[in-house]
């Protein structure tokens, strides 16, 4: 089976998208955890 000649580029673009998703998800997740913690404190 012939390997995909575009695999390195596709992987690079995909990883950038994943990295952006993770970078955005982390603060959102942390904010939510803080919200849950505040609920628990009440």
């Amino acid at each position: 089976m012939q390997t995909d000649p575009y695999r390195p580029w596709r992987l690079a673009v995909f990883l950038v998208v994943v990295a952006v998703a993770v970078l955005c998800a982390v603060p959102i997740g942390l904010s939510f955890l803080r919200y849950l913690a505040s609920l628990g404190a009440r």
């Binding site: 695999r7 596709r10 673009v13 998208v17 939510f32 919200y35």
Partner: protein, 505 residues
Amino acid sequence: MLCAWPLLWLIPPGALVYAGYSVYAYLARLASAMGLGSAPYPPRLAPPPDRATGSEEPAYTHYLFGPALADLRHAARTALPAPWQACRHHRFRVLDGTGTGNAVWLTAPAGRMIVMAMFVGVIGGYLAVVALYAVQVAVVAALTVVVAATGLVLRAADSALRRVKGIRTSCPSCHLRVQRPSYECAAPGCGRRHRDVRPGRYGVVRRRCGCGALLPTLVLMGGGGRMRAHCPHCAEPMSRGVGTVPEIVVPVLGAATTGKTRLMTALVMGLVEGPAGHGARSEFADEQSENAYRGLADKLQAGVHTWKTIRVKDAPLRAYTLRVLPPRGSPRLLHIFDAPGELVGASELLRELRYIKSARTFLFTLDLLSVDVVWDSLPAADRAGYARLRSDMATDFVFGQLLQNIEGLGVPTEKARLAVALTKDDLVRHCDALAGVGRDSDDIRRWLEGPAGLDGVVRAMRRHFAEVRFFRTSSWLTSGEIDAGVLDLSGWLLVREGLQVHHSP
């Protein structure tokens, strides 16, 4: 049944979970759409053609100049709907699972809350997914701009370097000017020819041939060593290193039987095997040159005559091409063209020698036996023996034809150099007519203008060319050594073409 309002607290965590799940579903589908992961489903892309057609090359288009757009379209069709599709399936499962059973009074309102959380989460997740798709578009666009700009810069640098180095390429077979040679893929058994390997839509630093092999795009920066060059006009193979180093074209012109082929063979022998390089190393740049030389060199070493150069009908006149590496400075490709004497005598045929246009140094052969004063001073026995070797065309007629055609081809002769090789010196060295004539160019010129009676030709040479130099040469080997006149001639040619060799002209 329990009122749903006390379960409102389920919505924020549920929405967050479903938003995250939407993003995950999108990324999983995106990976598949880009040919990654365990279930690749990339867009169908046409494979490159097996041979160059129209503007198409037998190479894969660079990812950013075509396939990336196809991937974006494919992702929009298959990955963007992923959150809706995944959550629709979950909705039915949640409603079915919570709508029946003994505790339906509790599970049914909880199910409704979960579906509501799912609705909110999917809307949020879809917004996040659209944002991620926009990120992908932006990344691809930015990379395309950067890569295209890099390609343009490299292309410009390649052209500038070519101009600075003075690289102009001519085909040794059809003699036409070649802007860019075609290159054959170096992979074993491939043979696909690429017409324009410069940085562009098929690759910036490298391109991928249809066979999968990576080829360099920057031939000038040393990447073309492995690939074989071909002429785009006649498809004949070109010399190794063509297009990467400056080229020197030296046409050897003169009437039939003036000894052009022998002189050229002696020159090449001196450059490749002898001291004619004056410190520069020379090697054959293609098989054709080496094969043609070997046959003639054997004759030269055996001390037998070479046959008159005859042009086979429609066959190209090929140059003998050497790669000359001087002790200092950049290497050069030296093309020495041997024009058959018949062509030189006929104006309409002479125009076929298009390589003349690229030449700035010309080598004109003048048979000493054809000079009447020399011929008359030879003993009768010698004359009888040499009659077959004597050129019978008048020097002034031949030179006049040559000059007319050289100028007709647009060569600025006022900037060109002319080496005049008086051939067959070994046969007439001791005759009375040449008594007292030295090997110095001025001595030879004075003799030609005076006793030899060729003052008209010499005047025409000096009037039309920027520099004229005369050499007495013999193409016969003396104890296996190349004649000093030939060595002097080669040194002068190399120095005048800008090579830094150990010779003072």
